[in-house]
Amino acid sequence: MNKATTVQPPSPLRAFWHKWRFHINVLLLLVPLGFMPKYFADAALFRGDSGLGEREVGEVQVGPWSLTLAELRNEAPRPDPAGPMKSFNAALCKECVKQVKATYLRIGKPRSLRAAGVIFFGTPYRMGAALPVPERTSPDAELWITMEGWDGSMQQASIPLSQASPATVAWLTQQGVKP
């Protein structure tokens, strides 16, 4: 009683996979290598090894104090559920580290200290703030910096948005001013 059994030959693709699967999987180890340059660039940016931000705006004098302002990334505002956001970094001058209580950033002149805009958080040597940029912002708008001292004093200064972030102005111009 011989029972004939027919063995199906494996498909060429399956044979190839069986023969080379371990070698092909080793290639997966190469995938992270492609992300390494971006990873190290980001690590240097967030540690501060590559400066305050991708693009340094320069020193801004605010009354008796001053701060160094930088764009975290030299790019247009990033979308967020709360509207487009642009990240800035700042470092207080050495003499004012102990005198300044809070630093705020806003597009347009603040109506009051309560509405002075977003607050910078972090160490005075490297603070960060995410500034909402309304889509209807005029490209010739001004960026206002408000500083509050521990003595209760308040100082304000402004710089053109085109100086603070040319990428943001280019983005606004491209969008067109919305009503």
Partner: protein, 109 residues
């Protein structure tokens, strides 16, 4: 089978890598609209999806007088009568965590 599993695992890993770069900030948000009866309803919240019950929301005149001092209710909204004077709405979740809405930006019904 193994190939399919491997592909799926890779897809999940790549998706996770993409999601991890998203900022985990929660920015304040506020929206106001006009509702029938000369009233304005404002809804506050944060960009991480959380609500803002009990957060201060003041209606302030252009001369900086507080016209309606208020706090958002349990449903994160506040309804108030439209002031006759020029005003703006200030959602105030703490220093530097504010949203200003000018009367001109409040959508009519």
């Amino acid at each position: 089978m193994t190939l399919i599993r491997l592909t799926r695992a890779c897809a999940v890993l790549i998706l996770c890598a993409g999601a991890s770069t998203q900022a985990l900030a929660h920015n304040p948000m506020c929206e106001c609209k006009e509702i029938p009866g000369e009233q304005i309803q404002c809804t506050g919240g944060f960009s991480d999806g959380s609500g803002a019950p009990g957060v201060t929301l003041d209606v302030i005149g252009y001369d900086e007088t507080i016209l309606v001092p208020g706090k958002l209710g349990a449903d994160s909204t506040l309804t108030f009568k439209k002031p006759s004077a020029e005003f703006y709405v200030l959602f105030d979740a703490g220093p530097g965590h504010v949203v200003e809405i000018d009367q001109a930006d409040i959508q009519a019904q």
